[in-house]
Symmetry: C2
Subunit: 593 residues, 2 copies
Amino acid sequence: MSSQHEFQPIGKRPGLGGDSFSTQRRIRVALDQEPGDLLITGGQVVNVFNRRVEPADIVIADGRIAGVGCYLWRASRTLSASGLVILPGLIDAHMHLESTLLTPAELSRLIVPLGTTTVISDSHEVANVMGVRGIDMLAAASEGLPLDLFFMASSCVPATEWEDAGGLLGPAEVATLLSRPSVLGLAEVMDIPAVLAAGHDVLAKVEMALSARTVVDGHAAGLSGRELIAYAAAGIRSDHESTTVAEARAKCALGMLVQVREGSSAQNLGALLPLLAAGELDDSWCLVTDDIFPNDLKHHGHIDGLLRRVVAGGVSPASAVRHASYVPARHYGLVDRGALAPGYRADLVLVEDLTQFRVNTVIKGGKIAARGGQCLDYGPSPRLDRENTVHLAPLDETAFRLPLAAETCPVIEIVPDQIITRRTSRSVRRVDGDWAFDPERDVLMIASIERHRASGRIGLGLVSGFGLTCDGALGSSVAHDSHNLIIAGTNPRDMLVCARALAAQGGGFVAAAAGHVQAILPLPVAGLLSLGDADKVCRQLEDVNRAAHALGCPLAAPFGTLSFLALPVIPELRITTQGLFDVTDQRFLTLID
Amino acid sequence: MSSQHEFQPIGKRPGLGGDSFSTQRRIRVALDQEPGDLLITGGQVVNVFNRRVEPADIVIADGRIAGVGCYLWRASRTLSASGLVILPGLIDAHMHLESTLLTPAELSRLIVPLGTTTVISDSHEVANVMGVRGIDMLAAASEGLPLDLFFMASSCVPATEWEDAGGLLGPAEVATLLSRPSVLGLAEVMDIPAVLAAGHDVLAKVEMALSARTVVDGHAAGLSGRELIAYAAAGIRSDHESTTVAEARAKCALGMLVQVREGSSAQNLGALLPLLAAGELDDSWCLVTDDIFPNDLKHHGHIDGLLRRVVAGGVSPASAVRHASYVPARHYGLVDRGALAPGYRADLVLVEDLTQFRVNTVIKGGKIAARGGQCLDYGPSPRLDRENTVHLAPLDETAFRLPLAAETCPVIEIVPDQIITRRTSRSVRRVDGDWAFDPERDVLMIASIERHRASGRIGLGLVSGFGLTCDGALGSSVAHDSHNLIIAGTNPRDMLVCARALAAQGGGFVAAAAGHVQAILPLPVAGLLSLGDADKVCRQLEDVNRAAHALGCPLAAPFGTLSFLALPVIPELRITTQGLFDVTDQRFLTLID
């Protein structure tokens, strides 16, 4: 039909519409005029529209649901769901994929068997390293997976002007990303001061996203009152930073989708659950993980695990499912998914019951993708090419010499289980005018080494809280948000070993002692992601943690803690490639004066 | 900033985003760093997100809400809402604007004071007469009004292949319409047989709308079971044809928005209200009028009147308001409206209470648009040019000669207050082989005269139910869906008078007797809309009704009844320009054999 060729689809996202051919077949299958591809019989179906759970068969054609109900349908394959309950595929509406350390293919292999079929990622870690190219790389690496990976265009890359990031997403780059079919809007607007100052660039990005009829995610940490109103007035309509009932209530009242976050580092479900159970947020909430490590996914589950807790906390099962599927799908304009109804994408999760949500089978786009906790083979994984993004200027032990002006110095103090730090003042050991390790004092040297452009820039400072009692060093190429190398250690030799190992591997988590690498988790993709499978990554993560603990470190997740010490947007004191930065006073400190 | 110029907005609808300049100001106003334009103090505010009604001030800047809450704000103008309750502007999500007989400007003048600030019109009447040009004409005529008029691209123009319509909207024309900024999707897909037959053209239109990330409206009259499933499977996600609780339940379960219709001819609120009050449709319902006459709007109100009844029926006021504002706005992608929250368009309705919903003041885009039931002046109304679309071939009394093969004939039988008709068989009076009026028998001649292309095509038949006892005729240029002239009368002379009067006026409702026009309501715009104001139109409508009643017609709305007798998609018997059409058997009947 010629007219169709004249028609210019407006911002078509793959799969939001179908095509005439499959629609025709779907109608015929619904009418039982021809067999479908898959018929699921005998299950109980969760209906997210009327929140009922009722027996129904589901027939699927060309990857979409053709019919749901108590009718006789035929299909070339039948699957019994007798004794099982069927949910729409689960959605994690806000995740930084990079925190899992896994490639999209490996993440898929880990979470699809848990019932997650759609993830919306703000991949601002990879964007800080590689810019638009990094997000494009992840999008390409997610093609053909049984997990649909969507992205938000990261709004704050780099996070501040004090950052030596590898990538930059200005308004032009954000515009480029918004034109990508897998990008659903603007990612969490973290630069609250810029919004409240009505900053031109940040508002230009917001406007672009709204003009493109997409959504803008928020990050309204700690905001309340008039400032929260002003933040919402910018057009920002979601937030995952509510830690109290009062915050969540206030955000809901202003029309923001309350994304209840339960990840590895920040966990808010316990605090907000009573509000959900009381129905006080009405339709305005969903479940997200934000930052989650692979071992937590492995041991505690993903959205399935949160559903279990939400239902145990008093939310009706059908409502809980609605908020883990339909509500986020609708919010992000993913009108093809989130419900078990005719025309919807056939993303289905068969669970044993609505209390434990133990997943029996997962169907993605009409195909069985996982059974009994295992992903089925879906053909070759899309490849991620190894490309070393760790570029260091020549470096020797002298780089880690820290002259001190006095024996009492400003020190970054780690606050266990939180990403804030304290600025403290400590008396330290000084030898020949330079800082020197004292096992009695729990103070390490910390270095931030610019690694994107081999500029040789290195910032040095002191940190307390790693608790090392033996000589050694811990290093990481994951260092929010610029992801320069961050290395904490007792001596220049081991710190240099860490730096060289990270440069050689293209990134990772490393522990060194006695001049040798003790354990390493290589993260060769942008210095952020492993190329190994989930099991191997979990094992290597345990290895590096064990090596850190062997040096005396008592922290549960030493590399997680390390990775946040370079983030100059969160109080109080941080290390950057340009030196020690006081976030509260917005100025650099010196140790040498 | 150069980057903004490189950005191609994807299908930007005016006002979905704002612009950086006004966003900056909105933020500063929210923070009380500068005064807003309008501050509304002391009112109770209905929050559609958490369904609470709480005291709050609202500050507005550049047509949008900058702040809502109990904070001190400044503005160049202050309005006290003390003792009043503030709702978001009300939305009629499905209306055929033409049924009001009013221009957009006059409709606005009538319903904005009732609190309606957004109407989504399926203007398929004007499309049947003028095609795309007709919808463009109405869109142009709505610019600058305090009523936002959006359109759906009519999906079934002409309604069937048996129609002599003036306009045609094939897939190419639908594509053109979908590219218009004021078009929100595909209008009610009335051609159910085509959908169930998986017809290529209708599905092509559906696909276009879905690909453009817009919605597709349904018209699933009488559909149930497998057929309703197949209809939904096409991607159709709303319906306004539920007349029973069971129908509404079934549609909700399939993910369709149940548009509860309460218009002049079809009224379903009474039947569905218990379902709404019980919360059984959850979030899946809104309120629409479909077809409503101006006198009904004048006497019974618009969405405000429906809110009154919905709340009296047991729906909580805040929920009722949510379903008359936020729910339809979200369904149609109008993300800028439907709530009183920061960043939303400042469309506000100040009512006296949440039981009577008597409107005190209406604010549209931040400006006071109506007070105490009267629209405020908003500058010159956009003009609609007079263009006679009634084109008749030369016509004389012989055109209305109806030879009969027998004295017993098939006759269209009107079913009072319904738009279906019965096919009946009647013994009629025959003089010289032609039909002749007999005051004892309640049978009139009915003519459908092609009026778009002056083809001279005329179909004749017989109709029972108008109850004329004196000689005379009733004529109309509103005749669904093709809007040819339709004239019912006792004799050729008065029928010819009607035809000529309609041709002279460019359309209208007319009653003739004794060779003269007795009363006429001119509808010169496409033969469908008056250029008069609402009062005048109501008066003229009463005049023509009175003239019909003087001829003996007992029907409450004789011209409404007349206008549906040519619609060959609804059973059982209809008159078309090609003759009497049996809808059930899908064939033409003959009276002359």
